[in-house]
Symmetry: C2
Subunit: 143 residues, 2 copies
DNA sequence: CAGAGAACTTGACTCGTTCAAGAGAACGCG
DNA sequence: CGCGTTCTCTTGAACGAGTCAAGTTCTCTG
């Protein structure tokens, strides 16, 4: 893939060392958005069979801290990761199957909602989560 | 307390049996909004010293299912509970100390944001979480 | 007041995630 | 190009919030 070098450069730009696990994790997150750590571990092992789960956990933390991936943690779910970091978008979570779908920001720039002007609370992010039922999980609702 | 009978009636209205643990948990959630399960267990034990943690977990699940309390689960935090269920409000979470503050809904009725009209996804709740730093945790920011 | 079924106690256990120590690899510098 | 420092990965154990399961106790109906 031509993006292999790009990923290396991306890491370097973030002052991170370029290692195979990091490249593989980055690629896995891009290829499988909203995946759990376990899913990502499996995906990474397709590329590097021997990676330890700890390595993936470490890499994900580093990438998250460097803002190269974004961590999502809907209630009742394990942590999930996605590579869309430069735009402001939200998520819809299905209560039935747990599937997560991207939802473009309904208002505009982040934080896309008016912040509480209260007692010195400084908002740096407004997280919006839509809870509901996806098409596959609502067969009974025959409109 | 005069609310003792009210709480019993509240449970009965929800078709739930009235037990001391349930009354105590309900009172604890009302008295300590945004508390963790562990905190609630301690609060309940002030009233009924012998309650098992399992009982509190059970009661919280039942009350949550019956919509008498609401469960909040910010990323990186344990589950927390509150008794404000009949209005639509959101939360501000401090990245420093983890404190949670109520924020009245900025738009109006729930779900207070336009839903994704996409592929048959039916939204029943829009959860908004403001992330930032509370007054106590930002002493360095001397405007 | 007695029976049925829900609720609580006790104690073990699961599972995602983190901690810790040592071996190995990436990168800057000579 | 090779060396050393420092960060990264491996291995294996540990943690902790929450759940499961079996048995006893209590609430409520008739």
């Amino acid at each position: 893939m031509a993006s292999g070098q790009d990923a290396g450069q991306t890491l370097r730009n973030a002052s991170l060392r370029v290692t195979r696990p990091r490249l593989a994790v980055l690629a896995a997150v891009q290829a499988h958005p909203h995946s759990s750590t376990e899913t990502l571990i499996r995906a990474v092992r397709d590329d590097i069979p021997g990676v330890s789960h700890q390595a993936v956990y470490d890499v994900l933390r580093v990438l998250t801290t460097a803002r190269l991936v974004r961590r999502i943690e809907p209630a009742g779910s394990v942590a999930r990761y996605e590579a869309r970091v430069d735009d402001n978008h939200h998520h819809a979570v299905c209560r039935g199957c747990g599937a997560i779908t991207d939802v473009d920001c309904v208002v505009g720039a982040a934080p896309c909602l008016s912040a509480p002007d209260d007692v010195g609370f400084v908002v740096d992010e407004a997280e919006v989560l839509f809870w509901g039922t996806c098409g596959d999980c609502s067969p009974a609702l025959t409109v």
